[in-house]
């Protein structure tokens, strides 16, 4: 056993780091660091760069334009992106739809869509959740009725992240209402500019607009946009979800948040001394760091087993649970570290170009907001409760 990175791995890390240094504009990493709102152009700039470098589809098999990196390299790449304060890679096309098309798409679909994803031409959105069906996809209500050469789609999707930027959306729809819920689902690709598609913003508890409702009223979708076979969408959906879950442990993000926490606790004062010298507070930080240290190894173990071709079983669920808890704990301690400085909330501070004096230290502004925002991570991507159900049933046989 040896958890040191090899020379080759370190060299790869330098390469990624160097490239990010060269290509990522400083204004953009500054925006990310300050939690400012990113524009569509901000995301696209970074993803275009990746695309040009051939690194956008880093998960894909090499034959389809992927990188051919092993699991450790992928992990290093993810870490460096976070360390460089780059925008996140919008995952819906490249990380989610891509693998599904590669596995289940027709030749025509592959030839058309995959290069467009590789070249970052389409902005994809995900149409899974519905108001009555979050973690429980079996109770979907959006219908697609066979009308000969097209489907007529009616219904509503929700929690569509960045859907207001999207050109296309992949959806789960009901194509057969007369069978067991899981059996009648199909996987459909829909143009967002089709007549009858409407995007309505959802404002989240922190006052931000990131997610949306997408409404479909008599939307005509050509038959060729069906992925795989009719009524077998459930299989593709599950396949996709395993990709969604990978990396959701968010080790790199938590590591960076922990460093931020240490910085903030050195600057925050309690009774005239840095908060980090308060034995109670530093103990909470230390135990969080220990949890994260262990989780990093746990994650690497899983990643490396995957590299050897072992399918991650309960590990990905366990990592999802622990990853979200650790991440949330970091945002909690950041909030705690601020004391009363957590109170002020200046929404305009997150606009590009805002350069007034902040209230209190500059780092204080986004922290409480971020704490509330991060409550979502234990809910989405299959809530932590759902993950526990899966492990208990599939791995423990309970």
């Amino acid at each position: 056993m040896n958890f040191e990175y090899s020379e080759k791995e370190e060299k790869f890390r330098s390469e990624v780091r160097e490239w990010l240094k060269e290509t990522l504009p400083e204004y953009l990493s500054e925006k990310v660091k300050k939690y400012q709102r990113l524009t569509k152009e901000d995301y696209e700039l970074f993803m275009n760069n990746l695309s040009q470098k051939g690194w956008l589809a880093w998960h894909w098999p090499e034959e389809y334009g992927g990188t051919g990196w092993n699991a450790i390299e992928k992990h290093i790449f993810e870490e460096e992106i976070v360390k460089a304060s780059a925008p996140r890679i919008v995952p819906f096309g490249v990380n989610m739809l891509g693998p599904v098309l590669i596995e289940f798409g027709s030749e025509e679909q592959k030839n058309y869509y995959l290069p467009r994803i590789l070249n970052n031409e389409d902005w994809w959105a995900q149409g899974y959740s519905e108001p009555g069906a979050g973690s429980d996809l079996a109770s979907l209500k959006t219908t697609a009725v066979d009308k000969g050469d097209y489907y007529l789609v009616n219904g509503q999707k929700t929690w569509t992240t960045l859907g207001h930027h999207a050109d296309k959306i992949f959806c789960l729809v009901k194509t057969d209402l007369n069978v067991k819920p899981q059996l009648g689902i199909s996987f459909l690709l829909i143009d967002m500019d089709s007549p009858g598609v409407e995007v309505k913003p959802i404002i989240t508890l922190d006052g931000e607009h990131e997610v949306n409702e997408v409404w479909f009223t008599n939307v005509k979708v050509p038959k060729k946009n069906l992925v795989g076979k009719e009524n077998e969408g459930w299989t593709y959906a599950k396949y996709l979800l395993t990709f969604e879950r990978t990396g959701i442990a968010g080790v790199p993000n938590s590591k960076s948040a922990l460093n931020h926490l240490k910085m903030v606790s050195r600057k925050s004062m309690k009774n005239g001394k840095p908060l980090i010298e308060d034995p109670m507070f530093s103990s909470e930080v230390a135990e969080l760091e220990i949890d994260l240290l262990a989780m990093e190894i746990f994650n690497l173990r899983t990643v490396s087993a995957a590299a050897e071709g072992k399918a991650p079983g309960m590990e990905s669920s366990l990592l999802k649970i622990k990853g979200t808890l650790v991440r949330q704990k970091t945002t909690e301690l950041l909030r705690k570290a601020l004391g009363p400085q957590a109170l002020p909330y200046l929404p305009e501070q997150f606009d590009e170009g805002w350069n007034e004096m902040p209230i209190g230290p500059e780092y204080a502004g986004p922290i409480a907001k971020q704490y509330f925002n991060m409550r979502k991570i234990s809910i989405y991507g299959g809530s932590n409760e759902i993950q526990k159900n899966i492990v208990a049933k599939a791995s423990f046989g309970l």
């Binding site: 508890l205 004391g339 009363p340 002020p344 209230i359 209190g360 409760e385």
Partner: protein
């Protein structure tokens, strides 16, 4: 021992409850109020005064109709239930507590507060003060027999709309000395303020002032005692407010669990969810008990008062986090949205831990008062 509320208090409870129910129930109404100029509704405030609710926070000795720990708790629990953002804390409670605790109480000003005609904010916190009673950097000095103040105050609730402000300032000694502090009354029109909303919807302000005129209210031991008492009153009020909020969070969650279906049954039918609801209720009852103790001993000696208030506020901090986070988690996505009320309750509940001493602060204060 007597666990029941007196008839008078039951009446107070009913009146206030009905008033809030009729005027503040709906989360959209609140949103409208907090977008107003002052961050609250002057009309509602005036009506509160007419109904005697502000008066319920003030002792009969100073023209009020209440003012005991129990009165404070009753009113603030209901404030919590409706998530009311009117200046009950800043003006109604904190400032009136200072003005009634000094050697020559300012009964006339208190009466104007009670009548809803005057707003006074309490400005003790500073940017680097972490809830400490005696950490004061703002300076006070005498110029031709007149007191002048120099410095800045932070996170002053309703500091923008207040007519007057009570400011703690250092007359003498080092920044962290217990002695040498004074409390001063100043006209707010002398002060430059920068106002903003807090993340839970309140209006607050940063105050900056240079050589402004001030009236000395009290100093040294008396001033420190007054600050401690005022902070304890605030911590008690916020603890009671938290109970109201927790109760609503619990009820909203329970309702949701009963109506929302997943995998063919209501979410509430899942045992792991049920057990978490029981844990929540258990801790809410614990908080309720601690606040009852703190209210009922609020008029005893200051060490009992502060010990029990700190017990309550510490527990509120710990349990508040549990209730806020569990309410969101058990709801799922819907709780992440601005338009569903539980998020606003959860935000206020969490931020209460950042006001008048957090769980850590009050645990340490309790420790000092209990172990020694």
């Amino acid at each position: 021992m007597d666990f029941s509320l007196s008839e008078e208090r039951k009446m107070l409870q009913e009146t206030v409850a009905r008033f809030f129910e009729n005027n503040y129930k709906d989360i959209n109404k609140r949103s409208k109020y907090l977008e107003m100029n002052d961050g609250f509704s002057r009309d509602f405030w005036k009506e509160s005064a007419n109904l005697g609710i502000i008066s319920g926070l003030v002792s009969p000795n100073f023209g009020g109709l209440g003012g005991s720990g129990e009165d404070i708790s009753i009113i603030f629990e209901l404030i919590g239930k409706s998530l009311c953002i009117e200046p009950f804390l800043s003006s109604g409670l904190l400032s009136s507590t200072v003005l009634s605790s000094i050697e020559n109480p300012k009964t006339e000003l208190i009466n104007q507060i009670v009548d809803g005609e005057l707003l006074i904010s309490f400005a003790h916190m500073e940017m680097n003060n972490r809830y400490e009673d005696h950490f004061v950097e703002t300076k006070a000095f005498l110029e031709n027999d007149n007191w002048k103040l120099n410095g800045s105050k932070s996170f002053v609730i309703n500091g923008d709309s207040a007519d007057k402000v009570i400011i703690s300032a250092r007359i003498d000694g080092e920044i962290n000395d217990k002695n040498g502090i004074g409390l001063f009354l100043v006209d707010n029109n002398q002060i430059k303020n920068r106002s903003y909303n807090t993340i839970d919807g309140y209006r607050a302000a940063e105050l900056n002032f240079e050589n402004i005129e001030a009236e000395l209210l009290c100093k040294n031991d008396l001033a420190l005692e007054c600050i401690i008492k005022t902070n304890s009153a605030g911590a008690l009020a916020l603890s009671a407010e938290a109970i109201g909020i927790m109760q609503v969070c619990f009820e909203l969650t329970l309702d949701y669990l009963k109506t929302r279906k997943q995998f063919g049954k209501s979410i509430g039918a899942f045992q792991s969810i049920q057990h978490r609801m029981v844990d929540m209720m258990l801790e809410i009852e614990q908080v309720r008990s601690a606040v009852m103790l703190a209210s009922s001993t609020f008029e005893t000696n200051s060490s009992t008062r502060d010990k029990n208030v700190s017990a309550a506020k510490n527990l509120v901090g710990r349990v508040g986090k549990l209730i806020a986070e569990e309410s969101i988690q058990l709801h799922g996505g819907i709780a992440m949205t601005w338009e569903y009320s539980v998020a606003h309750y959860a935000k206020r509940l969490i931020m209460i831990d950042h006001l008048m001493g957090d769980a850590d602060y009050h645990r340490d204060r309790f420790k000092l008062l209990s172990l020694n």
